[in-house]
């Protein structure tokens, strides 16, 4: 999906605001939104690729004009209303009209340290050997997925070199839409010259982690 979130290389943005921090306390809505996202029982189970995609579907003007944790809000209510667990009327009133059936107790405070320490992992056993090796030239595919994808627009159609193989990971393009499929992942290196043409420092390098499904050999017919 070529949404507003896919903004790498886009022009029109000014200087970076270097302010370092923002309020983050139990009474602050930003911190509560952060904590909530890590705590609530998610319909269909926690799926980071779906969560990201639901945020990407925000109206572009809203995406650009909303604060960071407010985008989290729109993502999470999108996830909940889409699944039928919450209604728009409930979000307005704050009054629950019914409870989703058959759910376990929500995550307890006691579980926090374990999740923090173990983390979540989308790495999977290797279903097959990777097709490329470090040093191989590869082209990022021209066309992205119409749904979720993590192939940024600024790399599409461009040729890079495999920097490293990172192991096999769940493919977001499938996983976001409900199908778990593992695919080899590589760090791929592109030159500024290749990506942007006439820039001041054509030798600067941009590296991104790209799944094998996003890549094709450079001799593939175009």
């Amino acid at each position: 999906m070529d949404g507003i979130h896919d903004m790498g290389g886009m022009h029109g943005f000014g200087r970076v605001d270097l302010s370092q921090d923002e309020p983050f306390s139990k009474a602050n809505w930003r911190a509560r939104m952060f904590g909530m996202e890590l705590s609530y029982t998610q319909p269909g189970g926690f799926n980071v690729d779906w969560l990201r995609h639901v945020m990407e579907c925000m109206p572009p003007a809203l995406y650009l004009s909303s604060e960071y944790y407010d985008r989290w809000y729109w993502r999470d209510v999108g996830v909940l209303v889409n699944a039928g667990w919450v209604t728009i009327d409930e979000l307005k009133s704050g009054k629950a009209t019914r409870r989703p059936a058959g759910q376990d107790e929500p995550l307890s405070p006691e579980s926090v340290p374990m999740i923090l320490h173990q983390g979540l992992d989308n790495r999977r056993p290797e279903p097959r050997a990777p097709a490329y090796k470090p040093g191989d030239p590869v082209r990022a595919k021209t066309h992205g997925s119409p749904g979720a994808t993590r192939l940024p627009g600024y790399l599409r159609g461009h040729v890079g070199v495999v920097e490293a193989y990172r192991g096999c990971f769940v493919l977001p393009d499938a996983n976001a839409h409900g199908e778990e499929r593992a695919d080899p992942l590589y760090s791929v290196r592109f030159s500024a010259q290749e990506l942007w043409g006439d820039v001041k420092s054509p030798g600067d390098l941009m590296l991104a982690d790209l799944w094998e499904s996003y890549l094709e050999p450079t001799n593939a017919g175009r």
Partner: protein, 224 residues
């Protein structure tokens, strides 16, 4: 953990067009003040049995007190002072940080990239805000800003100048876009004149930005 991943056997529709229409509808019906909306959402989820507010409190405590750039700074200081640890860190960073007792949330597949006099690494997530939480805490506003996300892959030297970092033309720049499950941390250069400092003192010098690649570590100013 297991509990968190459970959502019952529910089949959720996962269609892009449907969600685009839904997001538009949500936006047109809900009030504009985010603080109000977030508060309402929390009480609603609690009432529905989907959320325990004490868990929210606990996460906030954890990220205020335990998890933050001080973790990363200690890893850096150790790498500067213990060559064998540094080697393990560069080979398998996720394993090396567990060895020091640090957590792994959002750092399960960690890669550490080393800045030298000849190469400067910096990290971004152009598509959202991926960041090695366990070692650096919550990403600072500038890291999540549209300005940084759009511009750093196109003009890294211009961005670095805004952060006060000037690099010679002979220094290779590598911008790592965190598009997948790998998280990146920069191992900054150890500044000259720090040969006498211990691990604790060194860690105190290491700023958050230096571990993302938007700062260098400065040598300590000599006090009386």
């Amino acid at each position: 953990m297991v509990q968190r991943l459970q959502g019952g056997s529910l089949t959720v529709p996962r269609d892009t067009k449907r969600v685009i229409a839904l997001q538009e509808e949500l936006h047109s019906h809900l009030p504009s003040d985010p603080a109000l909306r977030v508060k309402t959402l929390e009480s609603l989820l609690v009432e529905k049995g989907l959320l325990n507010s004490e868990t929210v409190d606990r996460w906030i405590e954890v990220f205020r007190e335990d998890v933050g750039p001080k973790n990363g700074a200690r890893v850096v200081a150790r790498a500067w002072t213990d060559p064998a640890f540094k080697q393990r860190l560069m080979t398998n960073a996720s394993k090396a940080i567990v060895e020091l007792g640090y957590p792994q949330l959002e750092a399960k597949n960690l890669i550490v990239v080393e800045n030298t006099t000849q190469r400067h690494n910096l990290v971004v997530c152009t598509l959202c805000s991926c960041y090695p939480w366990a070692l650096l805490g919550i990403p600072p506003p500038w890291y999540r800003s549209f300005e940084y996300r759009t511009r750093v892959v196109h003009d890294p030297r211009g961005i670095l100048e805004e952060f006060g970092v000037a690099l010679g033309d002979d220094v290779e720049i590598r911008v790592w876009d965190s598009t997948a499950d790998v998280r990146y941390m920069v191992l900054p250069e150890r500044p000259d004149g720090t040969e006498q400092l211990g691990e604790e003192e060194l860690a105190a010098l290491v700023s958050r930005n230096s571990m993302v690649g938007t700062a260098k570590v400065a040598a300590p100013t000599r006090a009386g």
